[in-house]
Symmetry: C2
Subunit: 457 residues, 2 copies
């Protein structure tokens, strides 16, 4: 084990070089123009996997972006961990808000700035380096390992279920280690026991075939942008309650004692809000902020656009306006059912002077829960307790990892989140970064986890 | 006069060439990237003016885009007409909606398609050609003429007032002929006796400093796009009534007999709405459509944007969202007062969790009225009656021409609208066009008008 840790420390410069090369690839899965970049990220990571000593490295085709797999299965009688992560990233726009270009990895004040640094290329390579350290210094891993790295996580993992279903035999394992994960603070680890689900849609409001002159037609025809504003305002009140009938019907009530416990974590929520410069906390006053983030569903307008957006003024009545909407879901909401509710409600709001279209966008994700007594969860908690000097808090995640639900439903496997992003690292926003100190902590942590799982009775 | 008409017909191909060359210049005044194009349009038109025989052709600097002037003042004892028009055009976006590129003038089915064809390069050159025909065939004009062609009409003529004020002596005239004008239909002329005014503003709603992950922060902070939707929905109800307190206070009531007369013009409004493919007529049910378009103020969202607008999905909580708004005003609304009402109302709507900024955009325009008994108005009516075989209807204009108010206030001059665009020609929208038949009718009409004004007692 000492040799493994020495290897990890003595190769830190090469690790940084490898990570920077991967971060320089704009592997944006949502934009078809970046298709080749996504593949390039998979190919580069495949070379890293081969060099590390992992075997059966392969890039698998799917209906969408490829999936990268590898394994090392020479520890008979020992558990098998399925290490899951993703190589795709969110779009970087608005690029003008970045201090340094999003795909030119830049170190400032102990932080590595780049799109994908925290979500989640550093976490993925940390696990790869931990395996490399065992294989190169000891010639073997303490457990069996399979890597499964997809390239569609940021678009809701639409191809993953089919791939997992068709390769069940090659994915047999004891548990999934989900590398797309984070901790609570620099000095406080967390063990994530729930993820929210996701459903996404795009709404188009059309009031005419072409934009019209606001003088010539003003007073005669409806404005698509204003019509969309009215429609959106009817979906959610200004305190955050979703007004779609039936939206909350399947939401599991929060027991009063859990609500009281979550209320004590309020300062953490305040810090999160401060981290993005929010004017303050906001949301349904019937629930505390942490409960709202972990155990209550949301409705967000991710984007809105219509009419003239350029410099200056254009006196036009927009014919069409659009909004992208996603909802985070909680147990026991079913994504398909919530989508249908949203679709029917929005279509039902269409006034006679407008055509309203609704279509599903990102892949749907089912909410997920992990039992903290799961043996791999206990191993993870032990490693984190050793590294941070205090045990992890059980936490919920506001976000969604569709893969977690897929592994549970298709393979019967639970997922233990094990990554080192932190809540203030601007994930999905401008100036995303990852702390350099967590590069070292992350690769050490995975190395220790593999050993800990191997030592399970 | 026969020689003038012969000259106009025998030069029609050259006129078309000149117009196409001018239309090929993207003289978009609202975009600073097109600054050189705007100047190029003025320079090309200056060459046309010089070649026609007009004198003192000059491009005058302003704080913004230049103004082109010329004159011919050798008709002592005769009236002087100030021919006003503009050389700038609206932006062409979305360019994808054009059948042929907006700055590649294209003839299809008797129509000339290009941005600026109807608004208003064809009208400006028609007047220029009429003067050329007199000067080249008879060596003189029947009246004195001054041209004043600005390049900022589409952004609200912000520099025109100062220029007019500083050159009062060089702009002495009997009346203004406003070439930025149109007729009611191919077989029905109109005499415009009112223009609406204009006020413009941009609203920015900010809920945080950076966009946030809709999972990590969802339920904790407010969404700028949804906050903007709520704010806009409170400015106007879904039947078109503006909800800003005091907005209608200065609006002159429509006498019942005028309202009844306007109601008979409803089919024209229907055709206008059909021309842009609108789902139907829309607006405050207390007034008929024509009354709403000519004699009632409006509030339009010209553009809205915030968050992710690209392909696919991005699970982000937008930190900022913006809308551009313009209002058309009617007598006796004062633009500054209406702007202040809007600004105070919108700022007053700012919730505690958002910062709302409001700033004025396009130049303001005061509503304008013309007495149809004005001698030049009567001359125009006589010419139109001769050309169309029926007298012009008195009409209001839904649009705004700030210059008209400026000429009235600074020079005491009334403006007679005299142009040949038609309501279905996609002004300010994709596939703008001008009818080839109206090129001939337009230049003949101006030639006849100059003679008619000269013959006034």
């Amino acid at each position: 084990m000492a040799g493994v840790m020495d290897y990890l420390d003595s190769h830190s410069e090469r690790f940084m070089t490898d990570l920077a090369d991967l971060l320089a690839i704009p592997s944006i899965s949502t934009a078809s123009a970046h298709r080749a970049d996504v593949l390039a990220a998979a190919e580069l990571t495949a070379r890293y996997l081969s060099r590390s000593g992992l075997e059966h490295v392969a890039i698998l085709d799917t209906a969408g972006h490829p999936v990268l797999v590898a394994d090392w299965l020479h520890a008979p009688g020992r558990p098998t961990l399925l290490l899951y992560g993703h190589l795709d990233v969110q779009p970087a726009d608005p690029e003008g808000e970045w201090t340094s270009p999003p795909f030119q990895p830049t170190v400032r004040e102990g932080r590595l700035f780049a799109r994908g640094a925290a979500d989640t290329k550093a976490n993925v390579l940390s696990a790869l380096w931990a395996c490399e350290a065992y294989l190169q210094s000891e010639g073997r891993l303490p457990v069996n390992v399979r890597f499964l790295l997809e390239c569609e996580e940021e678009v809701g993992s639409p191809s993953l279920r089919q791939l997992v279903r068709s390769r069940r035999q090659e994915l047999l394992a004891s548990a999934v280690i989900n590398l797309d994960a984070g901790q609570l603070a620099e000095d406080q680890p967390g063990l994530t026991t729930s993820y929210r689900g996701l459903v996404g849609l795009e709404v188009e409001v059309r009031t005419a075939e072409t934009d019209a002159h606001s003088g010539g037609l003003g007073g005669l025809i409806a404005n698509a942008a204003m019509t969309l504003a009215h429609l959106l305002a009817r979906l959610q009140d200004d305190e955050g309650r979703v007004l779609v009938p039936g939206f909350y019907d399947q939401v599991r009530p929060i027991p009063p004692d859990q609500a009281r416990e979550l209320a004590t974590l309020g300062p953490g929520a305040e810090r999160l809000a401060q981290g993005v410069g929010a004017r303050g906390l906001w949301g349904d006053p019937a629930h505390g902020p942490v409960a709202r983030n972990w155990l209550r569903p949301t409705l967000e307008v991710n984007g809105i656009w219509g009419g003239f957006q350029g410099e200056g003024s254009k006196t036009v009545i927009p014919a069409v306006a659009r909004a992208k909407i996603t909802c985070r879901l909680v147990a026991d909401q079913e994504p398909e059912r919530v989508f249908t509710l949203l679709e029917e409600t929005i279509r039902g709001m269409a006034p006679p002077y407008a055509t309203v279209r609704v279509r599903a966008t990102s892949g749907f994700a089912t909410p997920y829960h992990l039992d903290p007594a799961h043996p791999v969860a206990r191993s993870a908690a032990k490693v984190l307790t050793g590294l941070y000097g205090r045990p992890p808090l059980e936490v919920g995640a506001g976000g969604s990892v569709p893969a977690t639900a897929i592994f549970k439903e298709e393979l019967g496997l639970d997922s233990v989140a094990f990554g080192f992003a932190l809540p203030d690292e601007h994930v999905h926003a401008a100036d995303e970064f990852f702390r350099l100190a967590d590069l070292r902590r992350g690769r050490q942590a995975v190395a220790l986890l593999l050993q800990e799982v191997a030592a399970q009775p």
